[in-house]
């Protein structure tokens, strides 16, 4: 696929590199983003996958990808990517494969591997300047094992290990780890957050990232029907609301310089995002927990005040 052509949705309808029949859940958000990512990167890709939901695509003897794929343990996907990158570089240098047969190395992990278990090997790979892509599909918990909380779980979410109880009625009490800022602190060439609901934003970010040599990192929101307790058909709707309410800002950082690619003209109230998800239903029923909702809202507003001030020059531009 030629890179100059991708200007509208219609340019993305060409060859698909992920075939149907995967054993992932119906409506899986991670699969939407993986399919789109693969389409933009093209066919010459090798995926390095740490243990997670997406690993289940490959159940021996079936493989839905038309490209190559390698499985690693949860902690060491970027280390696996380093090995593949080095091997490809050596083969090209020795003339054993022509340079046109070079592959893009893409790490794909869930938020569990990205935020906790695999953070050190990612940090090492970014520090070494490894030339690779990293796609983290963030469903805000360990979805594959039954939705236990991870470091990416937001405040107030119900998970298998943080159920709302009379003692802790708000569910998960911790806060979401800011992986974007952790990665940005390494000053890699490119870090971005993406959402499956905004495909053209994803396309532009990948096209931009392709120009740089070094780590190119992406964090994608990934709606998870069994964990978030939403209807299978609502995956995109929820992802859209996450962006429009400001819970999931779409941004990029080039060598540490942050820029927001989608600035909502007026932020929707977070309540709209929370109330269609079963994992936040305890904030609405049996008693509406206005204090918890207000806390989530104020955190979002605090973040956006700084963004509006920096990028528009007016602190409360989109806050009603």
């Amino acid at each position: 696929m030629s890179k100059t052509k991708l200007s509208t949705i219609k340019d993305l309808l060409g060859e698909d590199y992920v075939v149907p029949g995967t054993p992932l859940c119906a409506g899986c958000g991670a699969l939407i983003i993986l399919r789109l990512f693969h389409k933009v990167l093209g066919g010459r890709v090798v995926w390095v996958n740490a243990a997670g939901c997406v690993t289940l695509m490959m159940v021996y003897p079936f493989a839905p990808l038309k490209s190559s794929w390698m499985y690693t343990a949860m902690a060491c996907a970027p280390a696996g990517a380093q090995g593949i990158r080095d091997a490809l570089d050596i083969l090209i240098e020795k003339g054993r494969i022509p340079i046109e047969e070079d592959l893009k190395v893409v790490v794909v992990t869930g938020d569990g591997a990205a935020n906790d278990i695999g953070l050190q090997s990612t940090s090492g790979a970014i520090h070494r300047g490894l030339d690779f892509y990293y796609l983290c599909y963030d469903n805000e918990a360990f979805g594959n094992t039954g939705f236990q909380y991870s470091a990416a779980t937001p405040y107030g979410s119900r998970t298998a290990t943080s159920p709302p109880t009379p003692l802790i009625p708000e569910g998960y009490r911790g806060t979401k780890k800011d992986l974007f800022e952790i990665w940005r602190a390494h000053k890699p060439p490119y870090v971005a957050t993406i959402s499956p609901s905004h495909p053209m934003d994803v396309v532009r970010k990948i096209e931009k990232a392709e120009k740089y040599r070094g780590p190119k990192l992406f964090i994608s929101l990934s709606p998870c029907q069994p964990g978030w307790l939403i209807d299978t058909m609502d995956a995109i709707k929820v992802a859209k609301l996450a962006v429009e309410t400001g819970v999931w800002p779409l941004k990029e950082a080039v060598y540490g310089e942050v820029r927001h690619t989608f600035i909502p003209r007026r932020l929707k109230p977070v309540e709209e995002y929370l109330k269609i998800q079963g994992r936040f239903s305890h904030l609405f029923y049996p008693v509406k927990r206005d204090d918890v909702i207000a806390k989530i809202q104020s955190e979002v507003e605090e973040y956006w005040r700084a963004v509006y001030a920096r990028e528009i020059g007016k602190e409360d531009a989109g806050i009603s």
Binding site: V18, I32, C53, L56, Q225, T232, M233, A235
Partner: protein
């Protein structure tokens, strides 16, 4: 009297909860009981198995582990009946009971056994009617409780309440589920179940040394999942109205499975693999999609 019940279904249908509802009901009836699922990676739509053992004898249940010789099988999804990997009727005892959740009448069900009793009921229809969602946990549990023949309605009601409260279903939804359980409980009638055979002790298989390249699986035939036909996961079938379609391509991008392709003649949907998530229906900007229940489409 021992009841060895095995539940087959797909992840997300409520098979595990059904086995727990049956276990709870038997417990409230005063019997010894065990209930447990086979746990793997949780995925909606993948085949799942759960078990319940019930004993009304004064001694505890003598067995542990998977049930290989059940006298009652509850099949939540008819599409699994002839699945060679799941093989849901394996080990069912002579004159045991096989319950199938299907919209077909009993004489349209074909299995290669003539010594078992087959019971059919369209529980999805009942669930949609009473609860509004195609979730089968309560209805399967209620049907299973009735088919054992030893559980009264009061115990089942307790069991349903206990289990659903635990997973956070309260208020109006709980009331609807109890009504559904009552309806299912009255729909079927039990016959005496055979006495289950206790499993023989298993032999320990010694695994010999193997070269390391044999133990690392490699898949060389890439892109072959299309043959797995995930179309049988579907409960609702999306239907495209080609006259309304503007060929914008939004559904092609948003379809997680990639079953919608743009051709020169418009959109084509690969129903062999469509899992029926209905994101296309929800996201189409001109509302060109509609959906119908799978049984009505067939």
């Amino acid at each position: 009297m021992l009841i060895y019940a095995r539940f087959h279904g797909r992840g997300g249908q409520g098979v595990k909860t059904a086995s727990r509802i049956l276990g709870n009901a038997a417990h409230f009836e005063g019997y010894y009981t065990q209930d447990f699922p086979i746990y793997g990676a949780e995925r909606r739509g993948a085949p799942v198995v759960a078990f319940t053992r019930i004993s009304d004898e004064p001694t505890p249940i003598p067995e542990r582990g998977y049930i290989f010789n059940p006298n009652l099988i509850i099949l939540a999804d008819e599409s699994l009946l002839n699945d060679p990997i799941v093989n849901p009727i394996s080990g069912l005892q002579n004159s045991g009971t096989l319950f199938i959740n299907t919209s077909k009448p009993v004489d349209k069900i074909f299995i290669n056994r003539d010594d078992v009793r087959i019971v059919v009921e369209d529980l999805i229809d009942l669930s949609l009617k009473y609860v509004g969602k195609p979730v089968l946990s309560t209805s399967l549990g209620a049907v299973a409780a009735k088919l054992t023949g030893i559980i009264r309605w009061v115990s089942l009601e307790e069991g349903v309440k206990e289990e659903l409260l635990e997973i956070g279903i309260r208020g109006e939804m709980l009331e609807k589920n109890i009504l559904l359980a009552k309806a299912c409980f009255e729909r079927v009638y039990p016959t005496p179940l055979p006495i289950p055979k206790l499993a023989e002790p298993r032999k320990i298989v010694k695994i010999n040394w193997m070269p390391v390249d044999l133990t690392i699986p490699e898949i060389r035939n890439v892109g072959n999942t299309r043959v797995r036909k995930t179309g049988n996961w579907r409960i609702f079938k999306p239907i495209l109205n080609p006259e309304k379609c503007t060929r914008c391509g939004i559904c092609v991008i948003y379809c997680p499975e990639g079953v919608i392709t743009m051709t020169d003649n418009g959109l084509e949907i690969d129903y062999d693999n469509c899992k029926g998530c209905l994101i296309c229906f929800n996201e189409c900007p001109v509302k060109a999609f509609n959906y119908i229940r799978e049984v009505e489409a067939a």
